[in-house]
Structures are given as C-alpha cells and as structure tokens.
Amino acid sequence: METLRSDELNIIVCIKQVPDTSNVDINKETNTLIRNGIGSTINPFDVYAVEEGLKIKEKLGGNLTTISMGIKSAEKQLKETTALGVDNTVLLNDKLFAGSDTLATAYILSMGIKKLKTYDLIICGKQAIDGDTGHIGPSLAEKLNIPHLTCVKKIEEFNEKFLICQRMTENGYDVVKMYLPALITVVKDINKPRFPTLKGKMKARNSASTIWDAYDILANREKCGLIGSPTKVLTTYIPKRKSKVEFINGTPKEQAQKLLDKLRISKK
C-alpha cells in the first residue's frame, strides 16, 4: 500500500498493543499485578474505535485503515482488525521509536498518517490502559493541524463536510459539530463491537501489514524515541499497599452500627 485515494472517504483508526489485563492476577502478598505470561491485546478502547470506523464505512463506503506504532508483534493486533473488516493495516516500527513518550508517539503517528496522504476522520481510543494518559488523540490532532474531540459517546450525524458528536462530560454530554478532517477519541458507550467472522479470519491469515520505518515516513530522528521525548522516567516503584482488611462481624444490624462507628460518620 502506498497512499490513500482522495476521491473516497478515508478513516484511520489508531490502535495500540497493550498487556492483556484479563490475564493478570493480584499477588496477595504485595497486592500488585502478576502478569501471566506474555499476553498482549489490542487496547480495549481501540476496539470501540475500530467498530465505529467499520460502522461509518458500512454506511458511507470508503476505506478503513488501522495504524499502530509499536514492536513487530503488534502486527498481530493489526491482523485482528483485518479479520473484522479493516481494509489496510500499517505498522510503524523502528528501533528509533523505542522509548517514545506521548509527544514523540504523536509525532511519529502524524508522520505515518501524512504518508497515507489523505483522510477524513481519525479515531483513537479514549486512553490506553497501560499508560492511561489519553494524550495521543489531542496531541496527534495538533501535529496534523486538525480539530479534535475526546470522549465521544455517539456520532449523531456524519457527512463529507462535518460530523456532529456527543462528547461525554462529568455531568452529561455536549453536542458538538466538528468540520472534517478531524480526530475523535471514543468511549465504550459508543457501540457494541462485533466479533470476527470465519471469512474475516481467513482473510487476516493471508494478509500482511505495511511496515514503515523512520526513513519511510520521513521522521526526524531528533523527534523520535528517547531523544525526542521531553519527559523522562526517573524511577519506578511498586507502591506500598495499605494494611490488611479489617472484617466486621455480627448480625447485619451490628455490622451496620459498627461500620458507622468506625467511619465516624454521624448524621449531619
């Protein structure tokens, strides 16, 4: 694949490979995550991003691309999206990209997307579950000089010029019109993701992702990886957990009374 055609609708979904938390347990001594094996999965929010892309494509036609910056094995997650009905998959992979913070990642993704040339809508997940930052969407939109909306829970209208979205807020939602090209990040409420079909899985098996390195996307190495990342991780540590649970026994009535005493919450 080289570039996308500008005479049809183009949607790009950014997906990230993350450790599989449905595979983790809690270490009862230290209360920390034990990762069983080396499971990795597509970031849960990105599944909703892909589904939304598929829904729009089904309605309006066009082309759906998934793109990921990551290690070689992230091709597995890209292939999973092929099985769902995605047309093209692109993996941005280069040693130079290792250690990128969110600014560098957004830059690298923007260069990969620029190489695809044309797009109408970019969809990201609300946040990735490993870093939990939610920075990539808005940061990437800025690098591409397009508007963005985060936490989109519904697309009310979509046409070739603009879309109208519901953006979740702390006490409800905002209805916002946004002109294309644009970027949205989506929450779980937006749709119910489909499962791959047998035919889709077959197609995925025989598919290959386009793999681009820093040179292919004309990325400036000064802006990639550790060198390109303004933030540095000084140290990491496993937080101390509080002491063990204290059980309150007795009849429900006694338990309720003791709990209120403990919490020292009295009627205001």
Partner: protein, 335 residues
Amino acid sequence: MKKENNHDDKYYHVWILVDYNLGVISSVTYELLGVGRYLADKLGVKLGAVGLGFNIENKTIDLIKYGADIVYIIDDKNYEKFNDEIYSESYFRLIEMYKPEIILIGATIYGRSMAPKIASMLNTGLTADCTGLDIDLETKNLIQIRPAFGGNLMATIICPYKRPQIATVRPKVMKAKKVDTSRKGKVIKPKINININSKLVIIDCVKTLSEVVNLSEAEVIVSVGRGIEKKENLILIEELAKVLGAAIGASRAVVDSGWIGYEHQIGQTGITVSPKLYIACGISGAVQHLIGMSSANKIVAINKDPEAEIFQIADIGIVGDINEFIPELIRIYKA
C-alpha cells in the same frame, strides 16, 4: 544521574489553569491552587491562576483567597462554553506571552482534552494524573509522581530540558488550602487576538446526571455490582447514596446489564475516581474494576463471599448480603 540545568531560564512562576464549566469554577481549581502554592513557595516564585470564561470576574477574589498571587482573567462571551480549540489556542497564547515555568491543569474531561493539545503546540512534556508533585531545588525540575498500570506501578517523571513543565491532576487528589481572606493579589486582564472561526461549534451542553454530586468530584461513592441481583434493587443503593450525600458508581457488569448508564461505570473502561470513601456493594473486585478505584482513601466492601477479591484491597470488609445489610445501614444512619 548528572544534574544539569540546561532548560530555558526565561520561564518563571507557577500557573494553574482555572477549571471552568458553564459558570462554575470546579473544586479541582482550588486543589490545584493548594499544591501550586507549595511549589511556588519552594521555588520562591509567584503563583498565577489563569482563567477563561464568561461572567467570572467576580470569582477572581476566591482564587486569591485560596492562594493565587496573580489572577489572569479573560472574560469574554467566546469562552462561555468550552470549545477545545478556542480554549487551547488562547491558553497557548497566554503561555507564550508570560512564560510560566510550571503549569498545572485539572484532569477533568475538558482539561484532559486541552492539556495534550497545548503541550503539543509547545512541544513540551506533559505528565498525566499526577498524585505527587514536588520541586528538585538543584535543577528546578518538577518532580511528578504518577500511577501506571492502574496504580500497580508508580513512576517518577521529570521534564528536564523543556519548559514549561505541564502536569494534570485529578480532582480530589490534592488538598485545597484553607481560605485566607486577608490575602491580597493582583488581577491582570490580558488582551489576546485569537481566531474565533473555530472548526468546532458547541451546539448544546446537556446535563443528564440527576445527582447533585458528580462522580469524579464526589467525596463519597456508593458503588454497585452484580450482587445487587436485579435492577429494582437499585433503589436501595440510590437511597444509601442519598442519605450519605454520595455519588453512585457501578461495575461494568451492572452497566452492561443495562441497569444503569455508562456514565457511572468505574474501572479500566470507565472512569477513575479517588474519593475519600468508596463503598463497594456486591462487587467481586475484578482487576479491571480495581484499577478505577484503588486510590480511594478508604474502601469499604460488602460482599457475601468472604473470598471475594475486593477484600484484598478493602480497608473494612463486611461479609453479608447487601439486601439485608444496606437497609440496616440506612435505618441506623437515619435514626
């Protein structure tokens, strides 16, 4: 690590951005002023509170009482509703004008939309959801502590070569200072030119949550899991939340059953909260749920299964049936 100080020294002072939402300054603003005051004092610089909004001029005095030395305010109809583009652009201009060294932003939905855009415009570092902030006096670097992997790992992050240093902080994580009515401060009304022909048009802001308390700012959260058994039993939870003045949270199982809206979902694919008190009612404690609430100050869990995972992180455990326990709790509390 060798300590170097080769960032741009033109940047000075600490800023907090006022979290403003439809006429209301949210409580996280005062919490940011609390930690911002500490950082500014340690650096020996001024603390600025920077606000965009409409009809908010009368609120400036509060910002000073809670710790600001200087309030920068632009009161304009264009800022009445939060427009991601116009707000980010305006803050960017102000930052370029005044060059603060540190900027703290509330990790609300609006703040989390704006912060990465602003950091990207400035090509500087941004650290999300800091739970600890301090200054390394030697380098003047902001020491930022934040959880990763849902709080199972803590990371200390710095931004040594770029200025400003930007961090977001979730509501309820930092403490506001006590109001000091004797505090004096300066108010500045900067003039900036921005393009208001935005590619975003805010059509409507709809309020759907009936509760008085919003989940991310709530001091107390009563959270409900599949142990509630059926939708009708939710009344019990609602009543408990009402008497305690709490917001209602839920596990994904309850949301997926259609018993309550997604806005209430706490956890990895919902929202993260850090209330003073979290009461988990009939929640098993799957890791994806714990990720969203394990930083609560105090966790009370009620579950009929003594082996439930939720007891691993609870402070107080009650083994019992919520349908029996909660009515007792409400009754005694009300009595």
